[in-house]
Amino acid sequence: MHRKTTQRIARVALALCLVTASAACSNIEPWVKPYERDRLADPIMFLDHDPVSTSYMYHVFESREGARGAEGVVGGGCGCN
């Protein structure tokens, strides 16, 4: 079941790539203008506000769980036994 969900998520990512590519061919105008992005520029909207903390938490989870990847770059080593 999980495998099917992973494939589903991958397909959505693919669909977005193709939509983006075809949009480029039609010379699309940005639908959110630069002057309309004040909310997106607010620090509470940053996807990764504190990279040093984020990579630490990736390390905490990756050391104790089987899954890895699609979240960020984690350094080598373990320290988890």
């Binding site: 999980h2 969900t5 509470i44 899954a67």
Partner: protein, 377 residues
Amino acid sequence: MRNRLLIIIGLIATLWTATAEAAVLPDERTDLLYHRYEGDNITIEGPSVLIRKNVGKSVSVSANYYVDMITSASIDVVTTASPYEEERKQGSIGVDYLRGGTMMSFGLTRSTESDFEAETWSLAVSQNLFGDLTTVTIAYSLGDDVVGMSTDETFARDVARQAYGIGISQIFTKNLIMGFNFEAITDEGFLRNPYRSVRYLNDDGTTYSYQSERYPNTRTSSAASISGRYYLPYRAAINGQVRGFSDTWGITSMTYELGYTHPWRDFTFSTRVRYYTQDQADFYSDLFPRFDFQNFLARDKELSTFTSTTFRAAVAWDIGTDGFGPFSKARLTAFWDHILFDYENFSDLRVEGVLPGEEPNFTFEADVIQLLFSVWY
């Protein structure tokens, strides 16, 4: 595999046909982090320091030094080995080069501990498109590890690792930004922990013995995630993420996250719930029926069937939004994460007086504390 190929084709099409836009270098800042993990009789703590500075208008350099000081008497070492203390140090350097709407990033990470060394080179290219509404990133990393053993100085085994990642960050509306990520990772070499053992039932049916784990020499995994962050009608944000994972060892998992961020005066409060569920590797068993039962043998609880649930509370205090000494601003942040691990087929062998296989399943709780001080300049 077919999905990966199609996605790569889609991305190449995107990069070839789209118009490049301006991008910006990351913020110049220094972060001082103290981290502490405590759970299952393991304490891991230490500092992490990250410094990032621009060189001219097009280059940003960064350096990170990270330490784990480990004291362990976990269920693994209590049941099959001896408690130990260990220190792991990791250093990283990175360079980002900005040219128009393209950011090229290069990184090198090295870590050492008494019985493990790791080195990872990474390269990533990001491209802003469509008036900066879209950012596409392609990443590759190459790692070489050397696995040792504290009980045998001559023991050294290699692991080679490659990771291929693609990601899209997309602004959908004035209030919504989303991210899509896919990453494939391949490992080759000595992939198990040299200290760990599996247990098997003795012929008498009432006792068990141990033998070393045996893992395949290769592993390939795929992970895909969708994440989003939405600005609420008042000044606050909700964020969420779903990630799916599968690998050639038969492990499948899903991760779900939901968070909320709420600023108030000079403070920003945030909370998050993360739920992780995993199905076991094909060659995992809590108790094998006999010695050498099959080619590959594992009783590593990270390969078992389990769930983990994490609750987070965090508060950030903007100390000097109009300047802090020589710095443009400063921020102090405290994070607390409480994690519940609930194993479905990993027994607590500290429980005695029951037949093999009838021990209760293992569970434990962990607390992760982080104190972060950041300055911008």
